[in-house]
């Protein structure tokens, strides 16, 4: 079964450092998403990406965040200058959204720990 692959599975970084989280969505999917989940809290929407541009973003997705699809397969989330409160699990998801239900397939997540 096709899956969304995320790397790294766990990253530890110092406050103020830049972090790039990588995702390989399912190959025929057109919509890509990043979510984060702080431990014990709900899954929070960060951003969606379609046709090589951001289509929606939440209030969490401020100037320190950016997303990119550098080639035909990867989808990345960059955090420019990490803060302690960025410590969370980051999930990538993709969907093929034709007509009908928008079914998201999630990756296993990347755990980010900011010290």
């Amino acid at each position: 079964e096709p899956e969304v692959t995320q790397t790294p599975s766990h990253q530890v970084t110092q406050m103020g450092q830049e972090v790039i989280l990588r995702c390989v969505p399912i190959s025929n999917h057109l919509y890509f998403y990043w979510y984060r989940q702080i431990l014990g809290q709900k899954v929070e929407f960060l951003v969606s990406f379609y046709n090589n541009e951001i289509s929606e973003k939440s209030e969490i997705f401020d100037d320190q965040f950016s997303v990119e699809r550098p080639d035909g397969s990867n989808f990345t989330l960059k955090i420019r200058s990490t803060k302690l409160e960025d410590s969370a699990m980051y999930f990538c998801a993709s969907s093929d959204q034709g007509l009908g239900a928008n079914v998201l397939t999630f990756g296993a997540g990347s755990r980010l720990t900011v010290l």
């Binding site: 969606s48 379609y50 289509s55 969907s95 928008n102």
Partner: protein
């Protein structure tokens, strides 16, 4: 008013029990009603979805939508410890903005 309201639980039941998980929603324009399941430290995964009103059954799981009352339910028959997870009912608004609530945390005790 939140678009979807869901009892956060936690809900604890003995193995074999019938579980009922519920959500209410406010936007009558929603047409697809999803249930996702999230195991601890994993990404959410789609369990099932229904279109418009009615029931949909998949094994031990039944999803039910009552559009007149804006009420959606997920029933789990013969619940198993492996059903212990958080269950989410995100509203589908458009392709680009899919938001999840806190979900209902379910524990099925052996």
């Amino acid at each position: 008013q939140k678009e979807v309201e869901q009892d956060p639980g936690p809900l604890s039941v003995p193995e074999g029990a019938i579980v009922s998980l519920n959500c209410t929603y406010s936007n009558s324009a929603f047409q697809y009603f999803m249930w996702y399941r999230q195991y601890s430290r994993k990404g959410p995964e789609l369990l099932m979805y229904t279109y418009s009103s009615g029931n949909k059954e998949d094994g031990r799981f039944t999803a039910q939508v009552d559009k007149s009352s804006k009420y959606i339910s997920l029933f789990i028959r013969d619940s198993q410890p492996s059903d212990s997870a958080t269950y989410l009912c995100p509203p589908q608004r458009n392709n680009n903005d899919m938001r999840f609530g806190a979900g209902t945390r379910l524990t099925v005790k052996p």
